[in-house]
């Protein structure tokens, strides 16, 4: 099922970040949301995630779908280890062994297995971002929302992770909606491009 974004508007304190924005996000595969800073990319992800409500407009195609979200900031719990941070979001209907197995697999995907017992305060920015990504991957969602998930990861590691995830997502048929500034990332993922124009370039009075 495709996700239909229909005429969505959103303002923050008088500044309109999304202005009657519409697009269609196809089922399966990666869609990259691109555009200049402040054009509402993260707001669009928050609206799809249900964290923010649009001022007007509607979204279709999310009914009964499981969502996971790697936020722009890692949002790790400082008092939990890397593995426990990933485990934190897992459905408690799974038993402890199943959850541990999922945590192990998703840390492996982002090459953080060796740091499973570390605390967030011991991690670099890039490592924290990989944990946050692993947490979203572990949730085993139909739709994966990623907000600049690779921005702090160094290049060699980043491409290795991207290629690994591309294969995994293709095999599972996961729908990935990703905000990025990097055209090369979008190209490597064969992404469908969704562009949001800068608020300044939009015709006034719309």
């Amino acid at each position: 099922m495709t996700i239909q974004i229909d005429n969505i508007s959103k303002s923050f304190g008088g500044a309109r970040v999304l202005d009657s924005f519409s697009c269609v996000i196809p089922e399966g595969g990666v869609s990259c949301i691109m555009g200049p800073s402040g054009c509402g990319k993260s707001s669009l992800l928050n609206i799809i995630a249900g964290i923010a409500k649009p001022d007007s407009g509607a979204i279709g195609g999310l009914e009964g779908r499981r969502l996971a979200y790697a936020f722009q900031e890692p949002r790790l719990l400082p008092w939990k280890s890397v593995a426990d941070n990933v485990d934190f979001v897992l459905d408690r209907s799974l038993n402890a062994d199943e959850r541990a197995e999922r945590v192990r697999r998703s840390l492996e995907l982002v090459e953080m297995s060796a740091s499973a017992d570390m605390m967030p305060s011991q991690l670099s920015g890039g490592m924290a971002q990989r944990v946050s990504l692993a947490r979203a991957l572990a949730a085993d969602a139909d739709i994966l929302l990623l907000d600049e998930p690779f921005s702090a990861i160094d290049a060699t590691l980043k491409w290795a992770i991207i290629l690994r995830l591309k294969t995994l997502w293709a095999a599972r048929g996961t729908t990935v909606v990703m905000v990025t500034h990097d055209e090369a990332e979008a190209a490597a993922l064969d992404a469908n491009m969704i562009r949001i124009e800068s608020p300044a370039l939009r015709p006034a009075g719309r």
Binding site: A49, G50, I51, L67, A68, Y69, F71, E73, R75, L77, W79, K80, F88, V89, D91, R92, A139
Partner: protein, 252 residues
Amino acid sequence: MKNSLSNKKTYIYGVSSVALLIVLWELASVLMGSDQILPGPWTTLCATLRLFTEKGFLRVVGSTVLRGLAGFAIAAASGIILGIIGGLSDTFHAFMKPWIIVVRSTPVVAFVLLALIWLDSDTVPVFIGILTMFPMVYLNIVEGIRSVDPKIVEMASFYNVGRRRLVREVYLPSIEPFAVSGISSAVGIGWRAIVVGEVLSVPQYGIGTVMHSAQTFLQVDVLIAWTLVTILFGALFEQLVRLIDSGLNGRR
């Protein structure tokens, strides 16, 4: 520079500072020329050790400790519960704040004098303990709740983390350091306030009561000895709070 002294040097300076204090004390005592006015360190130490062997010692200390525990239990329970409400609701905190400010800026002695009119001598120190401890616990809990990162709460509710896990795994660990520092300083200050309350209300048994009578009968060595006992127990209680906290941490 901060913390530039080595541990060994800090230790040496600390010991020499205490030694100097004892020498000055001895000198002052010799100059006064009377154990009745200022007994020397040795006389005082003997008086202190004698206290521990006295028959009524446990009853005196036990009465004050019981008052401390009663005051602490009431102050901690109400401070934690109201603090959680105040941390979550700005309206409630705005309502509570003037009360807290009034209680905190009123001298302890004023409360004791009023309480002496309203309450019996056994209850006055407990009441004073509650009044000094409650604001510290309340304010620290409010601050702790406000320190919870709303972005982490948002992440948790996005992933449908249940309310009970949210409280146990997000709220409690955030509040804990504030609660521990609030409770341990409340215990230290509350303990001293309770002794002040006892000195003025003179219940049948209590550290404050024996300090009061030592002062009346000019037993300065006994007065200082009980002061040392008060300091010792205050420090013990503060340590106990920290021990309990690290015990709880070890179990998690």
